[in-house]
Structure formats: structure tokens, C-alpha cells
Homo-oligomer: 359 residues x 4
């Protein structure tokens, strides 16, 4: 289905070349003074055409709020919103109507529905993530009332890594470059690589690291809906995501228990119980322990190559595909605000649901 979340819930709609992308945010708590400019600012971070290393499709992506606010304050009712599409070049996709692009959703949508909207990928386009960014921006504003914040950044592109401790990152630096890597020197190298790959008609993937800080201990449901499991489904539901790690990740899983346990200590400053390390990534037994939640998401290289690619049409005949349209050589820079948005939605949903835990 097209809904995400249990209490705070986004239901989204929209195709790449349809009239609009939008959705309904349900469960937004009443009484939040909403900064619409900040919502738009998050959309601008996701916007195509923002730099030389992203698609040149020219969309302003202006959001219109259709309900749920009264004098700028949330009323507790559902929030309808939409972003109109303007810069469709649907004819760029005429040659794709009857063929299946490799590693795209063309074949699988056809297998599922018997029909697909081939224009710009239809519903499978990453333009769908507009709705996530809008809903996430609402969630962030609700979270900030409770002192909770979210940031993410590009930590790896191909073999270029930013290796620092995620908690040492200054979030203000993330948007100081096109790649959204907080280290300017590493960002430059990533940018150069993406540019070179683009010039070769190829694409490249990498890793985004995310941090949720300020979470109280106790969020998440203990069995199937562990905080980490909800975060995993949130991230793996983003286009092109192929891997998810929390805390120690795959690497840490291959170490000893004596190396990976997080010892409890009392913070001498405030007397609160905390841990001296954070291999757990802020989650123990599926529930937040009050430490920052740290996670990583792997995004595959974009499947659309700007070179001739051999594929087949729906009758199985071999054809050569020459992609037109406008495409990203690397999704990471624009995926950063999407990762943040999904993380914010997970956190707010867990925060609200947790209010029902005790009598």
C-alpha cells in the first residue's frame, strides 16, 4: 500500500509525469506552529537541477498545503499537500513504452499490474520521494518541540569514504557542498568522481549515514516493530536502497561480544544512565536507550546509463535502448534529505506510540 507509519502516517500519490505528486499526513499532533518555508527548504534540498551532478529536469517543486492548519498551527486533522509537476518531457519516453529498461521497475510493474505508466518511470520514479520530504518536514517540526533532531550525509561514493565518527559531524557543514558530505576535501573528491562517471555515461552509488539525536529511552516496540526494524523498512523503501545497518553493522557483527558490548555508566554531569560506547547504535532489545541512533543506508548506482544498452521488449525481442530523459549520475546528494525525512517519520511515530505504553 502507499501508506507509511502507524500513528504518524503518510499516504502518498503521484507519478513522475502526472499532474502532481502529493499525499496526506495523518496523525500530526495538534498544536505545532508550522514553518512552511522550512518545509519548502527541505524540498529544495531534494529538488532536481540544484547542481551540475544531478538531473537537469527543471522543477521548482513548490508545495501547496491543502488542509490541517489554522493560522499556521496544526489542528490535529489530516494534512493534504501537493507539488505540481511542470517540466515533464513525456515524449522522451515514447521509445520505452514497450521495452524493459534493465534494473528498472518496468518489467516488475508490468508483471504485477499488467499495465504501467512508462513516462519517466511513472510511480517508480524517485519524484515520489517528494511526498516523503514534505511529511518528514512536518515530523521534524514536531520532533523539535521535544528536542529531537535528525541529520544525514553522504559518507561514501564508490571507493571514496568519509570515515569520521558520525557524532563528530557538524550538521551545518552538510549542505555546504553539492555532494552533502560534511568534509569539504572528501566532498571535492566525491564530486570529481561523480562528474567523471557522468561524463562517461555511467553512474555510481554509495552510502548515506544518518543520526537521530535527542531521543528519549523507551521508543520502539519490542518484538516485530523494533525501532531498528521500523527504521530498516523506512530506509529500504527508498528507491535504490540495497542495504541497511544500525550501529556496529555487518562489520561489528563479525567481532567478539567482549568488544561490542556497551557498558552502562552514570553521566557525572546529569546523573543519568548512559553507555560509554555506542556499538548498539542507540538501540537495545529493539528499543532506544537514549544514545544517538546511528545508521547507514546503501544506495545502488542508478540503473539508467546514458549509453547504448542492450535489452528486450515486452515480446522478448532484443532492442538497443538509448536513454533520453534527464537522469542523476548518483542519487546520494538528493537522497540525503529523503533519508532524514524517513528517519524523522519513524522517530515521531515511535514517540507518539510510546505514550500508550503505561497505564
Amino acid at each position: 500500500m502507499n501508506s507509511f507509519g502507524q500513528i504518524f502516517r503518510l499516504t502518498s500519490f503521484g507519478e513522475s509525469h502526472g499532474p502532481a505528486i502529493g499525499g496526506v499526513v495523518d496523525g500530526m499532533p495538534a498544536g505545532v506552529s508550522v514553518n512552511i518555508d522550512e518545509i519548502q527548504r527541505q524540498l529544495n534540498r531534494r529538488r532536481p537541477g540544484q547542481s551540475s551532478i544531478v538531473t537537469s529536469r527543471d522543477e521548482k517543486d513548490r508545495v501547496t498545503i491543502l488542509s490541517g492548519l489554522m493560522d499556521g498551527v496544526t489542528t490535529g486533522t489530516s494534512i493534504g499537500f501537493m507539488v505540481e509537476n511542470y517540466n515533464q518531457h513525456s515524449s522522451d519516453y515514447d521509445n520505452m513504452r514497450d521495452l524493459f529498461r534493465p534494473s528498472h521497475a518496468d518489467f516488475t510493474y508490468t508483471a504485477k499490474y499488467g499495465i504501467r505508466d512508462h513516462r519517466g518511470g511513472g510511480r517508480s520514479s524517485a519524484r515520489e520521494t517528494i511526498s516523503r520530504v514534505v511529511a518528514g518536514a512536518f515530523a521534524r517540526q514536531a520532533l523539535s518541540v521535544h528536542g529531537i533532531s535528525v541529520y544525514a550525509f553522504t559518507s561514501r561514493v564508490a571507493d571514496i569514504s568519509f570515515e569520521a565518527d558520525p557524532l563528530s559531524v557538524d550538521p551545518a557543514l552538510i549542505d555546504t557542498n553539492d555532494v552533502r558530505c560534511p568534509d569539504p576535501e572528501v566532498a571535492d573528491r566525491m564530486h570529481a568522481l561523480i562528474s567523471r562517471v557522468k561524463s562517461e555515461g555511467d553512474t555510481v552509488g554509495g552510502i548515506i549515514t544518518g543520526v537521530i539525536s535527542g531521543l528519549p529511552a523507551g521508543l520502539g516496540q519490542p518484538v516485530f516493530d523494533k525501532f531498528s526494524a521500523s527504521l530498516a523498512t523506512a530506509m529500504m523503501g527508498i528507491n535504490a536502497a540495497k542495504a541497511f545497518e544500525i550501529g556496529m553493522g555487518m562489520e561489528g557483527c563479525c567481532h567478539r561480544g567482549s568488544e561490542m558490548i556497551d557498558r552502562f555508566v552514570v553521566n557525572p554531569e546529569d546523573g543519568r544512565i548512559t553507555t560509554s560506547t555506542n556499538h548498539s547504535g542507540g538501540i537495545q532489545g529493539g528499543i532506544t536507550n537514549g544514545m544517538p541512533v546511528i545508521f547507514r543506508v546503501g544506495f545502488k548506482p542508478v540503473a539508467t546509463l546514458l549509453r547504448d544498452v542492450a535489452t528486450i521488449d515486452r515480446d522478448g525481442h532484443p532492442v538497443t535502448l538509448r536513454a533520453r530523459g534527464r537522469h542523476d549520475p548518483c542519487v546520494l546528494p538528493r537522497a540525503v534529505p529523503v533519508v532524514e525525512a524517513m528517519a524523522a517519520m519513524v522517530a515521531l511515530d515511535a514517540l507518539l506510540l510510546n505514550r500508550t505504553s503505561r497505564i
Copy 2:
């Protein structure tokens, strides 16, 4: 909440030292002849005490089916089941009532609920996975009617890896050793490592690889509930899981698009459309493409060390914990059937839900 799945849904209950572990399987389709022995066989694979490298808690884990069958055939009604606990040694945990074991759920449950069952970890115990194995065993029997099967195996313990193509594995070999690694030589080395780690009072983690084969193209929901996202939440909801990958995983995400696309070809034998490689892990646009689904799950080393560990009690006073109880030095051997069970539940749920896709 304690439910998993949308159409085929498990709701589970039970604590490590309570009277029983069990649950309700809802949405099991009518008309399946159920082999109860096979359900018990799956439970036996998860059972404690099965080898020298797992916990010595002695439980027979006999399942009792309480409803939903008529002459051995599913009737479409909900299936209640339970496994009674017999071999609790609750007094082993008396010393843990007021302290927080590092990297366990003791602190977080207390933070969430204000109360916790400290005996054997209570609800956070991996005994909870009994319910998953039972529900998964039902799902597997429904899937087999449709030619779909699931297997998983231990592919890495610490730095010892089984590197072969997961599709080349003979599932019949998986259970031929205690570690559940299909290569006897690698399994021997893993076994030796686990034994050594155990003798040191330490623990070790690793990776399980899973395969779902026989899936038709078209399963999964295209946006938030991508097949891969559902599989991610299924796996990350298992105790000790810290990482999830599908297909190319983190490693593949750091390659070029030209290396990672899966070209469509027509299978000359049956004329069906397939792909020549499977970097996608059987999922494109979140939907199955008819190739095997291949995934990996990272499990952290068990947090209970059989040595003195410094921690604090609920008042923040430092204490030394000396674990008694019976514990696994490595969860992987017993997690294999749990991974398989969760994968089977995801597959059946998607199979059933997909019947609603077209008019």
C-alpha cells in the same frame, strides 16, 4: 505491537520463564494439508541443547496446535498454538532483578514500561522466536503448494566466511553440521572458533545468507512496502540483527551502474523473460522479478559474557555481573531457521496480497 504481516499475520506472546510461548497465525489460506511433524522439525532446528555450541537449556519445545485445522487441513480460521516452557531456572536471574546487563534489553524495557520481567530476559529472550518458527513453518507449507521454497545458512562467523554463490548451495547440506554452513570444511573451522570463544567466556557474531526461490514476478508493494523493505523489517526484528542487505548489498552499492545492471534475456528453454545476472537480488522497483531473492543478515555477538562484567544497578551504583543462566556463544546456528521462517512469512504475505492487484 506483537503482530507481523498484513494478510498472513503472526501475533505472538510469551516470556522466557513464563508458562508458554505461542501465538496466533491469522490469514493462513484454507485448504492446506498441514504436516505437523514438519512444524516440529523446524522447531527442533531452533531448539536449545541441540549441540555443544548452543545453550544447554533443555527444552523439548513441543508445539500444540489449538485451532484452525480440521482433519489436518487448514480451514481458513486463525491457528492458535503454544509451546510450554519446562526448564526455567528462574533463580539464576535473581541477581539481575535490579541491574542492567550491558547491551541487553534490561534498561530499555525498564525505560519503556517502568517494569520488566528479569527472568531469562522475559519477553526480550530469543525464546520469543519459537512463535516465528511455528508461523513460518505454516507459511512454508502454503508456499510449497505454489512451488516457492526458502533456505538460509551461516555464511560467516567472525572472520571465517563461506564465499560461494548462494544459489549453488545444496540446501540438504545445511543441516549436516552444527553451524548450519553448507560447506563441511568451512563449518568445521566455524565450529572450532565458536568452541574456542565459548571456552573463553566470550561470544561471536556473523552473517546468515538467505534465498527465496520460485517466487513469481510481481510480489511486493511498489512504494513503502517494497518486498525488500518488508524483508528488511522481518529480519531486523529478529533478536541481535544489526544489518540487512539484498542482492548487491553495501559492497555492490559502491560500484558503477554499468557493472551492476541486470540485463534482460529470454530463457531459451521456456521462452520466459529473465535476467542474465542477479545483482538486484530478485527485486527491482521493490517488486520481485522472478529471480531468486538473495539477502544477508548480520547478527551481533551475544551480549551475555560468561565472565565478570562491570555494570550498574537501577540506582546507578556500580556492580559486577557474573552471568549464570545458560547462553549461546553464537546465535547463528539457531537463527538460521528463524531467518527462514521470517522470509517465508514475508513471501506468503506478498503472494496473497498480490492477488488484489488487478481487477
Copy 3:
């Protein structure tokens, strides 16, 4: 939450005096050729200003479809839609900002959210039912592919009743008068009563009868989500609904079993099993039996009187309310298409879900 349905699901948004009313239809099966004019026609039946016995607010209620269709055919993806509001007279409600209208949602929304949109009732306005009519119109078109149809009509206004067998009604007659009662003579009397009540500044309620025909046997879930229970929640969720009956209703409940059982017979024409009477209203054990589903919904008289009414403000001070705004003296004529829409949604949802009942 603002969602209705499990597989076929409407999520709605919008306030009476906000920019638009709309929603997202999720789970609409792929492959249905949609007649947009027919959707608009259903909206026109609900539209204000359509006759002398409904509110004079002048809204065209033109629907815009924002996604989910390709060349007029559903693609299986979610369908965003909206109806813009034009004829708000928000200043009519300035005097209501701080007072509570009797038997309206003013007090309860304030109690729940601490804030409310007082303009035209905000989210509690019956304009919210626009979304239901649109979603229901989609559902009807999907149902018609399977030979299932829905109709409803005004069967009672105050003490004026239309007493005929609901199955004897010619649906084509329902819209031949303003009241939507299929008997012209009874409709005239109802119309005269509503006009008289209106002229007195008063309002009046009554009963709508609904019929779903062509349903196969087997729809509905046997325990909590009985077809009749889903229909009940659908109807009781409509503004002003205060009673729901299926088949024999309250009256039949007070008879003997020997009078109320429906005997099974074989239809000599087609050899199919049917019942000779339909006291059950088409539902047995919560599941459809293939007979028409017959139900009744009671709608209270509108709470807004066009006369002075004593009430209190939010500080508890007595005030006299003199309603301005434009109001219906009787909701029944405009509620008929809403009842039909909700019934269609319930039927389609059950039809789709039922495909998962068997292996």
C-alpha cells in the same frame, strides 16, 4: 485516523473552508477503465445548492484526478484527487470562534485537540464526505466489472415512511425527485415536510435504506470484521448517523427464531443454492450468502437551527447563537450518494480481501 478500508482504502483530507477537500484512493485494482464523468455525476448528487431543500452554498465540486490513471485506465498505483473549495463565507462563522454550537463537534474537537477550525465546522463539516463519494465512485466502477451494484434511497423522513420492499425499488426512480425517495407520492410529502420545517428554522432527520446486489457468497471476515460489522462502521462514520440495521433489524430481533430463519432452497432456474426469505439481509455468520445485502441507516436532524439558540462560550458564559452560514434542513437527500459510496467501498474491499481466503 483518516483512512477507511483494508485493501481498497481511502485516506481523506480537507476542511469546509480550507483550499480543498480530497484524498488518496489506495488499492484500486489495475485495469479498470474509469469514467470520470460518472465520478463527477456522483459528486453532483451530493453537491450543495442542487435543490430548494438543501443548503444554498454554491459549489461546483469539480473533481481533479492527480494520479493513478494512464489513458483512462487504472494502473494499480494510488489515486490522488481533490475538489477545490470556492464559495466559503468564512466571516459567517466569526461569531462562532469562541462558542460551542449545541450538538456540533465544536466542543469535542476543542476537548480533543485544544484547537479547532471554527469556519464552517472545519473538518467536522459534511463537506468531508466529498472524498467518500469520489472513492466510492471508483469502487463502484470496479464492482460493476464483477456485476455488483449499490443503491440507496430515503425511506423515511420524520414520520413519513416509504414502506415497500427495498428489492422492489427501481433504482432509476431514486433521482427523479429532490428527496431521493423512489415513490413520487411519498417523495412529495417528504419534500413538503422538509420545506415546512425549513421555513420554521428547524430541521428533521430520518432513515436511508441501502441495497448491495450481485455479491458472491463468501465475502466478509468471520469474527470481528464481519461484512455487517464493516458496513456498520462505514455507515456510523458518516456525519449525523445514529443507527444502523441489517436485514431484520431491531424489529426482527424481537421476533421468534421460527419466524426469522431463512430456509435454503435450490433456485430451479440456475440450480444455485439460495434462500426463500432474506431476514438475514444477505449476511450469515458475518459472511455474505449471495442474497442482496439490505441495510438501514438513521440520520439525526441537523443540529444547526436557523433560530436563536442558547449555548455557552469556551469560558462557560451563556450566549445566544444565531446561526448564519448556509445549512441543510435535512441531510437525507444529499446523504444518499454518501451511503452508496461507503457501501461500495466496503463491498470492494471485501471482494478483494476474499481472494486471499484459499490456497
Copy 4:
């Protein structure tokens, strides 16, 4: 599906002649001291064999709690429970294996699932309501912490009515007679009628009235999940329910607005806003207003007559059914605790969910 509720949720299982009836209560808040005897007392009120006017099946219906409690206090984890069946006389139903009892679920279950458990009605048996009574008893204990209570009583059997104001009833009188009508004189007449009907091999239905008092204003979701809509689905999901009314009901719907509005007044004792009448039944705009919620549920006469009944078998051949088994001549006395239980579940669910309404 076999689940009810969003936050506080019961998932149930069990057939009339299977090993046990039971379920899982999820979302029970932590920190409630549970009185197990009180749960058993509620089950005893529902128990067969409790009087001369109910079925003589002899079941003790002893509940076993399998999880979720620690030293008698809820821990926030799911609560498994079961009631074993002992007094099955399955052979009484041998003659029903291949025929369809009129107005029972035999035909519809077969239509849905292709298979049915014919013994005692299988899953369609009212023994399924055992699970509801247990879950409701937990809910009641959580509600009582918040000063909320629930009671219901038989208010009509055939043409014998108890007409008093439901709020004037002394709940302590309800269980002073077999019929569960709080007026001894009316109860005697109802009892005599049920006895006479039973002696004739016939059955009779009627109406149960319910009251939820102590609810704060603000519970319920404003659109589809109105408190009244949730209560409707709760009640219409009970076996044999055919009608539901809240507050003024069908009768009040046929009056004028000027007669049915509830004027707001300030309670001089505590200064709180209340209403001078309660035609709304405690619900306005779908949300509780702090007045008692008053509702009525119609239950049809039991379909099993203890006389020869003509019906057909699954091949359509006419047969004469002579019911054996043990049956209730009237469900109302035993349905009273079920109505209360469902009402308590709705109230607790709404209470918990409402905590998420505001930031």
C-alpha cells in the same frame, strides 16, 4: 482477520469443539495490577450451563494466563491466554457435516473457504466470545484506573421491554436474575417468556442496552473511526447482532432538530461544561463529550430450533434437520458480558490513542 482494536488489540482463535479457545491481548498498558479472579468472574457470567434458560453444555471455562504478567502486574508485553474445551459432544453434529443449517454460517463458511468445521459451528460458534470476555476484563481493569466503567443489561426480549432511563439503572441489580435485566418484575416476565419459547423448541431475540460512564471528552477519531463507528463495529461483530443504535437511535432520528439538540450548560457543582440532555448518547462529531455513552444492540433469535426444520445438503438435496447439541433459546443473558467486554475494549483503545492527539 481475527484481530480487534488499534492500540489495545485482541487477536483470537478457537473453535467450539477444538482443544481450546483463546487469544492474545496486545497493547495492554504496563503497570496494571490484574485481578485474575475478576477475569474469571466475567467468564462465569458468559458460561454455559449457568441457568435453566441457557444451553446446558457443561464447561467450567477456566482461563489460563500464559504471559504478560509479573507478580500480577502487567509488563506491557502481550498477554496470551486460553480456555480449554472439555464438554464437546462432537458426534451430536455428525449429521450436519454435509448439510446447511438455516441462518447459520454453514453455507457461508463453505462458500468462503471450501471447507468448514461442522462440529458445534466451529469458529462461528458463540464460544469464540470467550476471548472477547477475557480481553474485555483486562480492558476494564485498565479503565477503572481512569475512573471509567461499563455496564449493559437486557432491555427487551421479544415484546417485553424494560423502559427506564439507562442511567437510572443500578448496575448491581443486573446480575440478580438469570435474564440480566435490572428490574426484577420485568426480568420475571422475560424469564417466563424464554422458558415458554424454549419448551416450544423455538427461540427469541431482543435488545441489550449498554452504558460507558466516566469517559473524558475527546475520545474517538473524527472521521471514519468515530467513537460511535468503532462501537458499532464492535457490537455488530458479535454473533447474532443485527442492529446498533447510539443515543437517540432510529426513533430520535425521526424527530426535529429542535427536540434533539443537547444544550451546553455549566455544571454548577464543578464548573465543568456538560449538556442538559443526552440525545447524542455522549458522542458529538464522533468524539466523546464527557457524558455517558449510551447504546443499544439488537440480537436476532437463535437460528437453531429444537424441532424439525427443512433444509438442503451441499448437493442441494432436501433434508430434514433435527438439531441435537445443546443450544440457547435466547442469547441475551449470556451476551450481556460480551457487550460489556467489547465496549470496554473500544473505550480503552480510544483512551490510549487519544494520548497521541496533541504535541
